[in-house]
């Protein structure tokens, strides 16, 4: 097997040692129970009827034939089930904020009228089995009034464009202001005046479905006024709170169970409409209800990364100093602004004059939302393609250009530590950047051309609050209660390792209880790469407390136990805390058929101290591969004439398979900056940020043409070479 290289810190007793997951056996024997694997007595199966039109008003729905079908137990539509889905709509990136969800003008319900995208929910049925439910859907008669639709964000802002909402297609923010998101630093016009040359280009990126292997499902079960939901969620605490609020319940009236879930990458945050639909059907039918999304339901009814258009203008001096960066961006949010629509990247440069304006725009495509590093991969692709082009036009090595222009700690804004020089320099050396890159892009003779590209990043690794409980009994068995769900990165194992390290016991003496809101305290939710840092720090503090109790009063005896809990709220003392990374890739482009083959891929990351080398290695490799898929293949294409989605599935969106996979070399530079649990930082999102930029730069280096549109599919390469 291929191990990552670790530089800088020695392993501790448990932390830093390659460790098999605590639940690995369950995962390889089929014993692991995912949401759809539960079955309750009398359980009904549910299906959702979805809009066949990109934009339509429902004049009338007739459900009588569906209700009359033997075996059908409940049919709900907007007429008899008006439930707000708070997390599904305008949040402006403030999706964790209740006042925002209450204040928004653009409220989303589980069934909406008008319908605003192909796949918008129209009705739902619960029946004795899934085939009867499916038959019942076909018996629902809907009278649609088709409305004009718009698919592209820039077109949606044109005068006279079809209106997705009555207030216009520029999305409101969480205060109901209909304005672009603007950040303005220094004086960009003065920066352009100072420049020797100005560079301008338009970049665009595609919708990337999260496409997690487990389609959305929810099993709802009421006992009196208490709801139990078996739901694949990235955060049981957030899911509980959201569901309680949407259904008018108190948090304690909702129990969320999620011990295993089949990936999410950001689209299983919070609660989902599936949770609310299953709960509503279950209430109405008086029986447990299992709602199962098909793959197509999931592709259209959940969400993916927002597509963007980015206009850059860069000012630079002939010596390679960047004097101004301006970006005007448009993010296609679909008809509901579920998340921010952010386009990040320019802030990794030190240039003092930076102006960014992003318009999140409503369209009649399916909803956009968070995907692993929500604002980053497409933004880093845009800005680092732009900078790569500037470097080559000025005759400067892009690595030298970066070392000259990248953001560094200042007296005004110190960092907890800073590793970017070492990360980039080591990566360049390991990759042999100097000899692999083409000083003159596209200079290979013949139709098969090689080239190399590079990208770099820093990304938030801030600290924050979360909770943990640790217990020890007289048999010296430790139990750790944490509200994590383990979406794939291995959080149960990581939490157990942190506890074992701090308690000074072997990992097998610590049982980890997770994934159940009735048994576990609050955890931040497995999004934003925060679990290791935040919940891990709470685990560490609870274990310290327990150690102190043991020191004070000795080990418990008989049936006694000692219990410690912690909800720390740490700070970084005003310092910026970041993780760092650099990717180097060499590609071979066959310009006759437009294919791109990856020859060598080198990653170097500083994510603080690595808790579990095995799972950390695969966070980097897996995320990098997802980024490669974004760079080369993935898109949700729509037919402009009909507004119908065309690539709702794995084959059609051309997801990577085993045959597409290159070796990914991983190096971790390990540092303990004194913050977070044992110095651990962000890892889960780090790998995906850099792959599209590095790959796009490598392709341009190979063929000598700048590729300004993702995915860099075969047709675009052929067009570039024509």
């Amino acid at each position: 097997m291929s191990e990552a290289i670790h530089i800088g810190l020695d392993p501790l007793n448990t932390i830093g040692n390659a460790t098999a997951r605590v639940d690995a056996v369950e995962r390889v024997t089929g014993e692991a129970k995912y949401s759809r694997d539960f079955k309750l007595p009398g359980m009904l199966y549910a299906q959702i009827l979805r809009s066949p039109h990109p934009h339509a008003r429902i004049r009338a729905i007739d459900t009588s034939a569906a209700e009359a079908l033997p075996g059908v137990r409940a049919v709900i539509t907007g007429d008899n089930a008006s439930v707000v889905w708070g997390a599904g709509s305008v949040s402006g990136g403030r999706q964790y904020n209740d006042p925002t969800k209450d204040a928004t003008l653009h409220r989303r319900y589980i069934f909406n009228n008008p319908l605003r995208f192909v796949g918008d929910s129209v009705a739902a049925v619960a029946a004795i089995d899934r085939h009867t439910a499916e038959q019942a859907l076909a018996l629902i008669k809907v009278d649609y009034e088709e409305l004009p639709f718009v698919l592209e964000p820039e077109a949606a802002l044109e005068p006279g464009a079809p209106q997705v909402w009555p207030d216009g297609n520029l999305c409101p923010d969480f205060r109901n202001n209909f304005e672009p998101m603007v950040s303005n630093l220094g004086d960009v016009e003065a920066g352009f005046a100072e420049a020797d040359q100005i560079f301008e280009e338009r970049y665009e990126t595609s919708f990337i479905h999260n496409a997690q292997m487990e389609p959305r499902a929810a099993l709802a079960h009421w006992e009196a006024d208490k709801l139990t939901l078996y739901s694949p969620t990235q955060g049981i605490s957030n899911c509980r709170h959201d569901t309680a609020r949407d259904l008018g319940l108190q948090d304690h009236q909702v129990r969320i169970i999620c011990n295993y879930m089949g990936g999410g990458f950001g689209n299983k945050n919070q609660n989902q409409d599936a949770d609310l639909v299953a709960a509503t059907l279950s209430k109405q039918a008086g029986a447990p209800v299992m709602l199962e999304f098909s793959r197509r339901d999931d592709w259209l009814g959940v969400h993916g990364r927002w597509p963007t258009v980015q206009y850059y203008k860069i000012g630079a001096k002939n010596d390679g100093t960047v004097t101004a960066i301006q970006m005007r961006g448009y993010s296609g949010m679909g008809p509901y602004r579920k998340n921010s629509g952010g386009i990040s990247g320019m802030d990794v440069y030190a240039c003092p004059n930076r102006l960014r304006s992003i318009s999140p725009v409503y369209t009649n495509r399916t909803t956009s939302g968070n995907f692993r590093a929500p604002s980053e991969p497409h933004g880093f692709y845009g800005v680092e393609s732009m900078m790569d082009e500037v470097a080559y036009k000025l005759g400067v090595d892009p690595v030298e250009f970066t070392l000259k222009n990248m953001r560094r700690p200042t007296d005004d804004q110190p960092f907890t530590n800073y590793s970017l020089d070492e990360v980039i320099t080591r990566g360049a050396e390991q990759f042999d950047w100097a000899s692999r890159r083409k000083t003159t892009p596209g200079s290979d003779e013949g139709p098969i051309k090689r080239g190399s590209g590079f990208s770099f990043m820093m990304f938030r690794a801030g600290v924050g609050t979360s909770s943990a409980i640790v217990r020890v009994d007289a048999q010296r068995q430790y139990t750790l209660f944490v509200g994590v769900t383990d979406i794939g990165p291995g959080a149960k194992t990581t939490m157990g390792m942190i506890a074992a390290e701090e308690l000074g016991v072997p990992l097998d003496q610590v049982e980890v209880v997770a994934g159940d809101t009735d048994r576990c305290p609050y955890s931040v939710g497995e999004s934003g790469s925060r679990t290791t840092i935040q919940t891990g720090y709470a685990v560490m503090q609870a274990a310290k407390d327990l150690n102190q109790q043991i020191a004070d009063s000795g080990m418990p005896t008989g049936s006694d136990v000692l219990i410690a809990s912690a909800t720390p709220n740490p700070s970084t003392d005003g310092k910026t805390r970041q993780c760092f990374g650099a990717h180097f890739v060499e590609v071979e482009v066959d310009t006759r058929i437009g294919t791109t083959r990856i020859v060598k891929y080198t990653t170097v990351h500083e994510s603080g101290r690595i808790i579990n080398p095995t799972t950390a290695r695969d966070q980097i490799r897996g995320a990098t591969l997802q980024g490669i898929g974004q760079a080369l293949h993935e898109d949700l294409l729509y037919d402009p004439a009909s507004g119908q989605p065309l690539t709702t599935g794995y084959y059609r969106a051309r997801h990577l398979t085993h045959l597409d996979i290159p070796e990914i070399d991983v190096t971790f530079i390990e540092v303990d900056d004194g913050y977070g649990p044992f110095g651990a930082k962000t890892a889960g999102e780090a790998g995906i940020i850099l792959a599209p930029a590095a790959l796009a730069n490598a392709i341009s280096n190979a063929i000598g043409v700048r590729m300004t549109s993702l995915p860099i599919s075969r047709d675009k390469i052929l067009e570039a070479m024509a």
Binding site: R295, R296, T624, R652
Partner: protein
Amino acid sequence: MGDKNKADTSLNPKQRSRREFLENAGTTAALASAVPVLGISTAQAQSDTESTAAKTRIQLTVNGSRHSVDVEDRWTLVEVLRDQLDLTGTKIGCDRSECGACTVIMNGKPVYSCSQLAVWADGAQVTTVEGLASGGQLSAVQQAFVENNGPQCGFCTPGQLMTATALLSNNATPNADEVKQALVGNLCRCSNYNAIVEAVVMAGERSGGAA
């Protein structure tokens, strides 16, 4: 599953052909497969909630145990495994032959159980992920998955394991390229492909064919 009720602009011929199978092929297969049952376990739905659709009795051997199941013509093998036999280790990722999460070994070959009608499995020998370990011992490929982080979210893992097991029974010590060729029909959106291939190669090297 509800696709056919919608304005589906599907262009995937695989999906189309499977749907036609489901709609047209079931009856014939059911007639041919009605067989008597003697003294073996029978899985039945609760009578008060049972569908009135016609059923056909099939017999199949799953992980060494014989079962007799009354199946509707429209049921797929994965539905029988999960819903009737409570073998939920086999996952449904797409239900249309795209992802491989539902892979089981049927009569020695890896198949997508979402795209096998249940009536076609009459008389079949089926192995699911629950049947890989024996006597509490993980198989070589399961053990390699444990050690080399084969599962991330774990949802594709049963399918990857079944295809890998079928590969190892035909090629005891595959190299990485052979593993990739064999497993191309098993997608992993965590994109843990490198670790999966490494684990399968490792299992072959260790057991030299005893997997």
